[in-house]
């Protein structure tokens, strides 16, 4: 007797929305924003305006690359970004007249990376909770930076470097956007095509199985935090040079901006999924939305209402689609 043909597909046949929803939502969203923006303001769809949007997102974008790694390895979040960013900015300006801007930048970067190493050791190897650890380490690092600088504003002595960074390549492409693009592409390549990247996904998606399979779990987890600190330090260096002035509070708020972008981009806090393009997509979405609101005259502080609702909406949607899609 032939058994009736029953679908042995244990993975439930997913509806189109559930299966592709999470992939199409972001590009669709960005498209919607572009349309809405053009309708609401004739200034929106101009080269000048869109270039500005790109410039605005460059510094945060560099940090977003790092934060994505942290999310993917299930490292929760890195709240020490304001400190490592400040270290980069303060050091590059403090030392630029002593040893030149670019060597000073390297030192700033090195110190920030060292801070990230401390984070990595505590979180990856000692297994401490990332939120509290990065909070504490950030406080300590920022305090040391302030003590080192004497708690005052540091001014830069190299307007040429500033002109270089704030200038444009071929008079069209802003230098800082170019740098961000390079970092983003590199980050994406590492995450998606290298062994380290695959390990990152594995550690975040299923830490126990990964441990059994001889992947250096602790090193990978630590690596995400070292990377984020280095990138934040780099962003701080760039910011410092472009302002030629840095105060210890220079990095305030960047960690939450980065987390917002990553979350809106659909990268899960629980690890194991997501990608750099998604995170950048989230960043672009938030920046476009901010731009539209600004053009409408909404002051920057109240824009937080939209951002907050956006985050809640994006994650709720993600949770919903995951449940529907039969995953986890």
């Amino acid at each position: 007797m032939s058994a009736p043909t029953v679908s042995t597909d244990r993975v439930v046949k997913q509806g189109f929305l559930a299966r592709y929803g999470t992939q199409f939502a972001m590009p669709a969203g960005i498209l919607v924003l572009l349309v809405v923006g053009t309708v609401l303001s004739d200034r929106f769809l101009s080269v000048g305006n869109l270039t500005n949007v790109l410039i605005n997102m460059s510094i945060v974008g560099i940090i977003v690359v790092g934060m994505t790694f942290v999310f993917v390895t299930r490292g929760m979040a890195d709240l020490s970004v304001p400190a490592t960013l400040a270290v980069g900015g303060l050091l590059v300006l403090m030392l630029d007249d002593v040893i030149g801007t670019w060597p000073a930048a390297l030192i700033g970067l090195a110190v920030a990376t060292f801070a990230g190493l401390v984070n990595g050791l505590l979180i990856g190897y000692a297994g401490l909770n990332p939120v509290i650890t990065t909070l504490a380490s950030g406080t300590i690092v920022l305090g040391i930076a302030q003590a080192f600088v004497g708690g005052v504003i540091v001014y830069g002595e190299d307007p040429a470097a500033k002109d270089f960074l704030t200038g444009r390549l071929f008079d069209v492409v802003p230098m800082i956007v170019l740098i961000f693009a390079v970092v983003a592409v590199l980050g994406h390549l590492v995450l998606s095509r290298t062994v380290f990247g695959r390990w990152t996904y594995a550690v975040g998606g299923n830490p126990h199985a990964t441990e059994a399979s001889a992947v250096p779990v602790r090193r990978v987890k630590a690596g995400a935090f070292v990377l984020t600190a280095a990138l934040a330090g780099f962003a701080g260096v760039l910011l410092g040079i472009s302002l030629q002035a840095a105060r210890p509070g220079i990095g305030a708020g960047y960690e939450f901006d980065a987390i917002t972008a990553v979350v809106v981009g659909g990268v899960s806090l629980l690890g194991g999924s997501g990608s750099i393009p998604r995170a950048i997509g989230g960043l672009l979405f938030v920046q476009l939305l901010t731009n539209i609101l600004t053009l409408q005259g909404v002051p920057s502080e109240p824009q937080g209402m939209v951002k907050g609702a956006l985050i809640a909406g994006a994650v709720a949607l993600d949770v919903y689609l995951r449940r529907r899609g039969g995953r986890e």
């Binding site: 200034r43 500005n52 005052v152 002035a245 600004t294």
Partner: protein, 321 residues
């Protein structure tokens, strides 16, 4: 569970007893030095830092010790720090008010404790007047008026401008902005204010706010009034960042008289600034509080001089800092 609490209690009491011995040994060694508690606006700020330094120097010259607490532009912190000053039993208190009236309860406590208190640099509301002995510092309303006059003059009485204001709710911000708008009204000027943004007297925040302004209004902006030079620099950064040429900068009027502003006036990119010396600000406050502590009397209002600087006199006046 009782054990933890018992241990904790026993230990705390033991520590108290121990330290009590140490404390009683040192108390009473106050000496004759005057203790000033100085609640300042910030540690790292282009204007505040030199003011703090001048304050310290003037106090040291008079043989007084200064305990400086920094609010970091946080009013809540400042009110707490004011209470610390009072409970510390300082001989005199100097307060840099970031809000026109939030400090009143603390000032009442100071008055009750008989501690002379003066405010530096920023005005407070009329309601606070009975609680401080003197206000030393610039006349911020007048600065606003002078700026209004200057911008009106350079724009020929008409045009669209943006205002980059300081910390919201701060007496200096209110004075400088109100003075500006009131003067324009008084002159019958047809200048239209497109938008007012708050940038907390900070260059980085001014850069971010200016980006938004330039995004929204772009070349419509025909004039800029910044509550201080530091923020004006942020605007200039944003202008350059947007790819526009510095020659196309709208005339800018700032306040403070910073070196960078002077250079920009010479280069033609800045129209006017108002020199207000932070060194004089700090020095006058220190001298005033010391005089009060020693039992002298001072005027309720002690202004510091202001000079408007344009390309006409930029070479004959010294920058403030």
């Amino acid at each position: 569970m009782r054990s933890i609490t018992t241990v904790g209690a026993v230990a705390a009491v033991a520590a108290l007893a121990l330290s009590g011995c140490a404390a009683s040994g040192e108390a009473g060694a106050e000496g004759d030095s005057l203790d000033i508690c100085y609640v300042t606006a910030a540690e790292s700020h282009a204007y505040v830092t030199p003011a703090n330094k001048a304050f310290d120097e003037a106090a040291a010259a008079a043989g007084a010790t200064v305990n400086r607490l920094s609010q970091e532009f946080d009013v809540q912190k400042g009110t707490d720090q004011l209470t610390t000053c009072v409970s510390q039993g300082a001989d005199g208190i100097v307060l840099w008010p970031l809000d026109p009236q939030a400090y009143i309860p603390g000032m009442i406590a100071a008055k009750d404790a008989g501690i002379p208190l003066i405010i530096i640099n920023s005005p407070m509301d009329a309601a606070a007047e009975e609680y401080y002995d003197s206000f030393t510092g610039p006349d911020v309303y007048e600065e606003g008026e002078l700026s209004g006059e200057a911008l009106n003059e350079v724009l020929g009485g008409t045009g669209k401008v943006v205002i980059i204001a300081g910390q919201a709710g701060n007496g200096t911000t209110i004075g400088r902005t109100d003075g500006f708008t009131d003067k324009l009204a008084e002159l019958g000027s047809k200048i239209e204010v497109l938008q007012v943004v708050n940038a907390d007297f900070d260059q980085q925040k001014a850069l971010e706010a200016s980006r938004d302004l330039i995004t929204r209004f772009g070349d419509e902006i025909q004039g800029v009034y910044a509550n201080d030079d530091t923020m004006a620099l942020g605007f200039i950064d944003a202008w350059k960042e947007s790819g526009r040429s510095l020659d196309a900068l709208p005339p800018i009027v700032g306040i403070n008289g910073q070196v960078q502003a002077f250079d920009l006036i010479r280069a033609g990119q800045y129209y006017a600034t108002i020199v207000q010396s932070p060194a004089e600000d700090g020095k006058l406050a220190a001298e005033t509080i010391i005089k009060l502590i020693k039992g002298g009397s001072v005027d309720k209002r002690l202004p510091i001089p202001l000079t408007v600087v344009t390309s006409a006199n930029v070479d004959s006046v010294e920058p403030a800092f």
